[in-house]
Symmetry: D2
Subunit: 511 residues, 4 copies
């Protein structure tokens, strides 16, 4: 059971973060672009910690490449950055799904094609990967990995059977790819002198556009009104442009402009961004931005659909207080995942919010040759209780989801043993019930149900007085509460909660 | 100015953390003791991050030693732990002060004496070190370091001129040392079969006693009533005993019993702890426990003088709200140092507490060959503003002290640029005005005054609407509010705030 | 000049070493194959020190892969070996030529093709690479590197225009490749259940076949009569089979059987090796085994064309003594490259052989911030003179070639200053005059001529009394002296010495 | 048996190499001295590979220190060298004997004494260490290690009971030490402004003096006539002076002058070297320079007593040929330890010398989880036979001693299996029969005899046709053959061969 929970905890992983940057016509060929990408990749590290890579171009087909296993800060040394000069570049952080976890799968994937060099960074998962793979192999191409990214790359290189794309018309090749595989991906594609930012027609994975501030501008992040709307005059003053999976990757000298729209192909050159085309979802299909990005994946400061993720999570906490109120002395959270929802719960319920646990920053070493005595010590050394807020108190403990289910059990036990009078668990999202086939790694439905069951059993067994989840309806309400003016009918992918897959299941996709 | 502030920030360092552990008569000779010490040292890592070491004894004079530069988790590998078997041991974490920062200065310091092996771990600073050093050298002893710890060790080995200590009577030698140098130190001294825990007569540095739970007992930390009082029946069930600079080092299978008293010499053997003697402060002198341990140094969950440090900090925040109220929308803190005080301020003022900043966990790489553009990026990438709680809000920003003064400036600027309507700084302690000669590294009074001035200038220049400190009186009140039943007249060392040195100044100590 | 010589010294690099191993039908799936390959790659380390890799198969299309930059011993850790279980596998050691030196170019190259997984390890250089590359790109394939190995791999996957190979007939695909590109390569190609060992029709690069001794056999290397001839009964007792660039890679439990013939395709399965076909050189073309493998590249214990390389080098030394005799006291060599030739020279001339220089094993650190004084120290700390054999002696100093020309200068100077009466340089091969396009990296003819000139100038300037080379005719005689019974007309590639390229020059290949 | 031999092989270790350097009055304070010492320590690496250290002085009592476990090239990074500026310094390479192998035992040992800082580097072993230790402890000094070096250091600091040395007269303190402990050591002692080079009265351990060439001089090593005699005019042109355990440590810009004499105290200041005093051996005792330095320990290019070690070894080989002739085709050696003796044997016997084995430079990895098959592979992959010189040949195989006895067995076996007709083993020194108490680590006599017996058994069992040793008389003759003009009666320590200990046995030293 321990193992299963651990598996779940590590299994619910993103597939990736992508980042791209291009300078304007005055940009010099040095490592500034690489360093802007470096910061961006660090800010997207939470979306993939297994491998990372960067590719830059000085304007010709000789790309500079550096990739490796591990965290961004370890893969990119001063020496490797010094090799990555350029006037544009793209980068990637990665979790593996099916493909084995080796350096060869690190992205971006780079090939030399008939029409020049091509680098691709990809977030998402092709629902129809198996079929697309068969088509590519049948054309006499050898594939060196199992990653969807290489598949996409070679698909872009192919001469299509019907000859509709046989030249260097890259937008046509991208459009062709979107027909072959409509779900799910956000792509950053680099050619020698341009970058394409592409979001799938369902808008399942996030992608947003920003700019590099003109060097004359003040560079502290300004989160003013215009920040969460499209502001075209921004572009007039830019020294360059950036794209990223999340707006949290825009820091200091880069600034958020807007989201890439579902199905949009944006071409970035030294002259700025230009919408090439917007491909609509297949007839009868709705938009399907992943609701779990709001709940769990994204950084709290990221902006999706015009709203800050933190604010959505506060709404979730407020909604949770309305759905499942309880009389108590203090509202606390599992650090740090439940902080925003706990804030919302506290505001709505008027019960004060307070820290329950101090993080033991440096403690964490596991034992060699543990005796029974030491084995006991080896669990949950992560936190120490803050007696002032725990002893004799009736506590509401908030977390964002049950993904980290193996953490909550020991925490409840710790609070109980430390003198908490009552411990009420409130989860600011519904339980996960269905696997995702669009970029999140959760193996089977049975496992998910078992996990949720385990979670509840443990919580109650170790002394929780009550345990309640936010409803699906409540979550959707919290997410959509502040969205207005949307140009297409608003909808979100809730497949992992409801089993309602926007593009159908992988084996019989009905688009 | 930048440099000066940085110096201050890194300069205000502890001198050390100490830890000791000894098993009872049934204890087997394996690495359990080493691993208990390992956890303890990790929990004391905040008291010294420069070097660390551990010494264990199997009961004879052949001690096992491992020391090294760097963090506990890096110095102690599985291999080195496997060499540290024993039935007792002591450990140390260290910051340097005057002595050069090399491995040779890492503690514990071990020597072979006429009466067997001796290991010493030391927290504090000898106010009369220069004089003691001269005495030891004059006796024909070579000293291999400049550390006070070696000095103490060789002083314990010496045959005193008057012959009062010439045999293996270690308590007499310790008593003699306490007469030669009464301030300041907490010492853990290991001989082949016993450990002495010693606190200086002023009680300037902390030291506390705990036990190793009998392996039959439940091992989750229980913060019950008895935890913060001396509970003698604890000792009946113990499998061993531990001493540590702070009670936060007692985790899971170790448990807090009580403080070592000022001037107390406690002898720990396999039969348990025994108070050998309590040396009083010199005539006319008061107790002088460092008040800055409460304000800044100690972990929030540590217990001094019968109270949790977190609770004292909440009191400081409440007192601050009483002394310097202001109308506002939200109370926030500089993470994580101001959290407890912000909680107190919020409770007293009824203004809701909320997060203002999200920590950018993975971002932190500095730039190679920075251009002007990149230099701008290189500052304060540590946090991103949480727009939901900042934009349009009147903010009270709390920090525990001005020690981290170089952090507050950029944060105020960031909040302002992110749309904060007002930013009021409240510091939950008075400004530092005088250097410390008892184990905290702050060079000169001029620098301290300059730092405080700089801090205020910057805060206001970058847009703080007001800036107020807690008064010395208010701090003392917050610290002493919940202390009762003290067996000696209560007093604390406030020398760094008031210039009132408990033992006089180093050059003319008047004891 | 220094630089140019350095360039030459590092420029004359092999392109690679290849190794393959397959177990018989009783072989179990564990890491034995990987460890046999590991030893083989270490023994081939001299053929490529930039990167290395290994791919194993358990009998299906899921290959295990590990590749990395650096030496074999660093790339393959216990952990990576433990991931490389299998019943067959291939490995590679690599120097770069044109392709940039990054991990992505490390071999073996692996792809998934329409007819299963495919791994390719390659030694050599495609004389017509540019043209073949164009053909592959035009077919809509993206190439991820500039290496000839990937080019070969994708060429094997292609559906040929004329449809002559459109199925899983791999020998037909290999034959097709040999027609597209006849020069130069030795290839080891792995499919899920078999390995192909292929040598180009000219036999330019070496490749040989061996067996894994049956576990019942005595395993000390036995260099008996049968060892240098094909011995078919070997195969009856084998537990598996191996192929390698050089026979020095067969150690202890692996044993040399015979060379792969020029143009031969050998298929190795669990049932043993089988010659599929032998492709002859194009009409009017002769065999062209690289004569520099004998002179410089190969390990002295390797066997080519039925003779030990060491013996050929002794012949060269004898021939050199006949061509350029001189009266002297001692014959010495540049360690270790000239040892065999010096032995030959000594035997022929009856002048005793002796060590002139002791290697300073541990000395070699370069200086930081060198002063003028230290700069002087930084040169040629590699050897110390052995006074006993140098002082007052007339010395004949032998080296195998002028490739390490920058070493000889300082050595002559050192001998002179140490009291040598005379120093006569004898080089056991002719000077390099022409670039190689078949796998050895020497840029231009002008550079080669300049290098030879520099070499002579320096040698004489620093005090050599004479300097003589072995003649081309003499070298060919030494190489061919002991070869008999050859089934085709004997010939060797001497292009780098004579400019007579066996397949013509790259820009207008006339096959 | 295998284990015992391995133990012997690793057990016969030196105790150390020492090095010192001091600049003249014009020397600037930078890292040149450190880098000269660095090269020196690398050249002395064969004398101690366990730990190393360096201490430099800028002319005052604040020494710069860097020490660590491991090889010189790993312990000294650019960063650590940059911390070691100075105008003089000393260094050390170390093997452990009794003291545990930890960083704390690394030398030089540094203390602050009543009369300034003191650094000591030591090669040798105090025969009466136990007694001296008791005396030091009884004086109230704590000793932090078990190393003789710290003992010597604290003994130098002591105020002697009789008051004969109570001031800063360091030569008097050194003289006092030499009376307390006459055997065996070579010492390099640094004070803030001078270095003392001291050799024990028996001259048991080597130590020699050299100079730093004036920066105007030509710096290639010149091994001319004057090199092996004392040449006073050297000193006039020097920019500084150096001392080292062996003259092989003088390279390029440093040059050999002469040996430090047995019992000599040389003081080196910025004004040059000065003999303070020469202490004679106790009445009735002879000089006792270790004969095994010639046989085994020293580098072949080092100079002792006016002769090159290589030349002595050639003499040993000649003597061996006279004592134990045999008819054969080729004389070979165990690389590289037997090279010089084989050269001598060849010259005397007129049988040609030739290489028998090629070193497999890169092969050496041991196996994880070895199967039976792989275990067979794991032995003796170090060399491959050179068939040309082995097959069908009658071989004389020479080694310097039986210290590496576990190497010879597999080599004989390998030669036999590779077709050698006869293999005759000739050892150029007598068998070791007695333990050494003067700095070489061989535990007991029984073990030594067992080892020699094992060695012979194995050699004959695996196929040696004969096995003969050089006689003690022959060895002494070879060593003393070329020595003349010695100012004291010539004698050498042959205790390990004869049991004749120059200073008696440790437990009852009779000086």
């Amino acid at each position: 059971m321990e193992n299963k929970m651990n598996k779940e905890a590590t299994g619910l992983t993103h597939e990736c973060g992508v980042f791209g940057a291009i300078g304007n016509e005055k940009w010099e060929n040095n490592t500034e672009i690489a360093q802007i990408i470096l910061i961006g990749l660090q800010a997207l590290q939470h979306r993939g910690q297994e491998s990372t890579g960067m590719v830059t171009s000085v304007g010709n087909n000789e790309f500079n490449i550096h990739k490796g296993m591990g965290l961004v800060k370890n893969v990119f040394t001063n020496e490797s950055i010094s090799q990555l000069s350029g006037i544009m570049g793209i980068g990637h952080t990665r979790y593996s799904t099916s493909a084995k976890s080796t350096a060869v799968n690190a992205q971006p994937f780079v090939v030399h094609s008939m029409h020049g060099s091509l680098a691709v960074a990809h977030n998402g998962e092709l629902v129809n990967a198996a079929e697309l793979r068969k088509q590519v192999l049948a054309r006499g191409v050898g594939l060196s990995t199992h990653s969807d990214s290489e598949l996409i790359t070679q698909a872009l290189c192919l001469i299509p059977p019907d000859g509709e794309v046989n030249g260097p018309d890259w937008p046509a090749r991208i459009r062709h790819l979107m027909q072959l595989a409509p779900l799910s991906y956000s792509l950053v594609i680099m050619l020698k002198d341009r970058i394409y930012a592409v979001r799938d027609p369902y808008g399942n994975r996030p992608l947003c556009l920003g700019k590099i501030l003109a060097s004359t501008q003040d560079t502290v992040n300004t989160f003013t009104e215009d920040m969460i709307n499209r502001v075209t005059e921004h572009e007039k003053e830019a020294d360059g442009w950036v794209v990223a999976s999340e707006s949290c990757a825009f820091m200091k000298i880069t600034r958020y402009i807007r989201e890439i729209r579902p199905g949009e192909i944006v071409e970035l050159t030294k002259n700025g961004p230009r919408t090439v085309e917007i491909i609509l979802t297949p007839e009868g299909k709705k938009l399907a931005f992943c609701i779990f990005e709001y709940v769990y994946f994204a950084r709290p400061t990221s902006i999706f659909e015009g709203q800050e993720v933190y604010n959505v999570r506060v709404h979730c906490g407020r909604q949770l207080a309305l759905e499942h109120p309880v009389d108590a002395d203090i509202v606390g959270s599992v650090p740090e995942s439940g902080n925003a929802a706990a804030h919302g719960y506290s505001l709505e319920s008027k019960i004060p919010q307070g820290e329950l646990l101090a993080k033991n920053t440096y403690v964490g070493r596991t034992f060699i040759q543990p005796t029974n005595r030491l084995r006991q010590m080896n669990v949950a050394l992560k936190f120490s209780p803050i007696l002032t807020n725990v002893k004799g108190k009736r506590i509401i403990l908030i977390d964002d989801s049950i993904v980290r289910g193996n953490t909550v059990g020991p925490i409840i036990k710790l609070l109980r043993k430390s003198g908490a009078k009552e411990v009420h668990i409130r989860i600011a999202s519904p339980p996960l019930k269905y696997p995702c086939y669009m970029g999140i790694n959760i193996p089977t439905r049975d496992e998910l149900i078992a996990n949720a069951k385990d979670f509840e059993d443990i919580a109650l067994k170790v002394g929780a007085d009550s345990l309640q989840y936010l409803s699906v309806k409540g979550l959707v309400r919290a997410v959509q509460k502040d969205i207005s003016n949307n140009d297409r009918e608003l909808d979100h992918c809730t497949a992992c909660l409801t089993g309602d897959y926007p593009g159908g299941l992988p084996d019989k996709l009905d688009w």
